[in-house]
Symmetry: C2
Subunit: 320 residues, 2 copies
């Protein structure tokens, strides 16, 4: 029987940690999931992870040859192989490569989740033939993975690509990072929710969203209201898209990418977000960049994207 | 007699076009200069240029082996080999490679002046061991050349690295590009002059600069006034440095460079510009980038930098 070459992709999240085997065509095999339980030590999580992994894969061990382990995790540093002070995990600094090599003796490569998504887009998604593009992940926060000349931009210390923390408004909204006016304080699931709260409290405009207790508002409910023609919800999407579009016009001046991909929860709102993003990016572009840069949805399937991206990390290294 | 390997570096400017032979150590030999006369056809300029070049070099033709021709010029595109709608030249679109190969049959590589300066910094200046850095050229405008993973960021179309046209203030100052609020409308020789004019007209603050007819103000006179302890001139430098520092903090979030080099006229103002740039960049950096990114003067000699950068373009290609 022929054995399929795969990489093991691991996505470490604040709540769950996912894994799966990723082949060269971007198919995801034998997926599994455990709770991260980030309040307990990291080595316990990896013990549970590899117990679950062996349970899931043992009867198929002849079918797959694993080439290496790719990991996507918040604040994971490609150069050091460590997670350093992850925002939603209590682990401080942990050495991912060492922890994983305790369980499996294969090459390990790590990066943050947005960079992993960018590599997934490059290998298996809508960026297959592109050398220069930007991947924006719109979740609770805003992440970005930037590809230049076919390679991820890691920068000097491995932490490049933090577009969520570009300051777009001096003395603007307080961001989780402690500074004011960061893009992700406006453009993210939490950002659009804050925009709605501001709109609700600063005007008497009628809105379906007034029927929801303010602390239960979230981006999903705002999207549902927009679908139901709620003007205030649509205004919130317009504002969110405008701020992202204006910021992307500046990002184009730096990178001149072929395309910018929007991925994640907010991107699922389709035209409500894509339309204002495109319109305000174009309106703010330097003339030489006008009508050149595509704003596209990610081609990665939402549920598997993080695993595919993590798996792509090893495939990308092997192809270099 | 041993012949020294060199590249021919050509810098095309609005007023003058310079050339010189650049060896691998970054020495510049047999420099020459002709007026660009950009109101006449480009092929006439190149005819005059190569007449002058042969006059200058003919008696040394045994001493040098020329490996190729590198050209730095406004709006020159590395991918196409063309100058496209240069701001200070009347040439519309010209094919530099073809025009030069009419006179000399060697490989030709072209790029814009800021990218050439960045390559010069990489090969011969203060960025010698760096893989990730940003070169900012402060002249009449503001140019930038960005190096990621040891390579220039050209982007999809060859026009990346336009930091001068990052919008830093919505509905801000009108820029030469026709948009409002671009960095170079504030941070450049013309930018600081506009800042002084605003300060002079919006306050009664005494200043040496009030003795100068407003249309004769320039960055040199502002620097002289600052040296003479003129408070308004110093305020103009502080504002200019603050705006550049704030913008660089955002650029660091994208690129996480090892260093940022300031080159050109305004950079010669030393601490008047470097101090506020450093202070306001640090104050605005995301915590993971604090105290990591150096702001440094260029290591290229002012008079030869453009030729060295153009010459470096070929050396860099040969070393790839």
């Amino acid at each position: 029987m022929n054995s399929t070459e795969v990489t093991l992709g691991i996505d470490i999240g604040g709540t769950n940690t996912l894994f799966g085997l990723v082949d060269q065509e971007g198919n995801c095999h034998l997926r599994g999931k455990i709770p991260t339980e980030a309040d307990k030590p990291a080595d316990e999580m990896f013990k549970r992870l590899f117990v679950k992994f062996r349970d899931t894969t043992s009867e198929f061990s002849q079918s797959f040859t694993i080439k290496g382990v790719g990991v996507g995790a918040p604040n994971a540093n490609h150069y050091t192989g460590k997670i350093e002070n992850p925002p939603n995990l209590s682990w401080k600094s942990i050495d991912l490569v060492e922890l994983i090599n305790n369980h499996i003796n294969l090459p390990v490569a790590v990066t943050n989740d947005a960079n992993a998504a960018a590599l997934g887009e490059l290998m298996f998604g809508n960026a297959k033939d592109m050398q220069n593009f930007i991947e924006i992940t719109l979740g609770t926060g805003l992440g970005s993975g930037i590809v230049v000349n076919g390679e991820l931009v890691y920068g000097h210390d491995g932490f490049a690509g933090e577009m969520g923390h570009v300051i777009i408004e001096r003395n603007g909204r307080l961001c989780g990072c402690g500074r004011h006016g960061c893009l992700e304080a406006y453009v993210s699931a939490t950002g659009i929710t804050r925009t709605v709260k501001e709109l609700l409290s600063s005007s008497d405009k009628p809105s379906l969203l007034r029927n929801i207790p303010i602390d239960r508002l979230d981006s999903k409910k705002i999207y549902d209201a927009a679908l139901a023609n709620d003007e205030l919800a649509r205004e919130a999407f317009e504002t969110t898209g405008r701020l992202l579009g204006e910021t992307l016009a500046n990002a184009v001046a730096y990178f001149s990418p072929e395309a910018i991909f929007l991925f994640g929860g907010l991107a699922a709102a389709g035209d409500y977000i894509f339309k204002p993003v495109k319109e305000h990016m174009e309106a703010n572009l330097l003339h030489i960049f006008k009508n050149k840069v595509k704003i596209l949805p990610s081609g990665l399937p939402m549920g598997e994207a993080a695993i595919l991206g993590a798996g792509a990390l090893i495939w990308h290294q092997l192809s270099a």
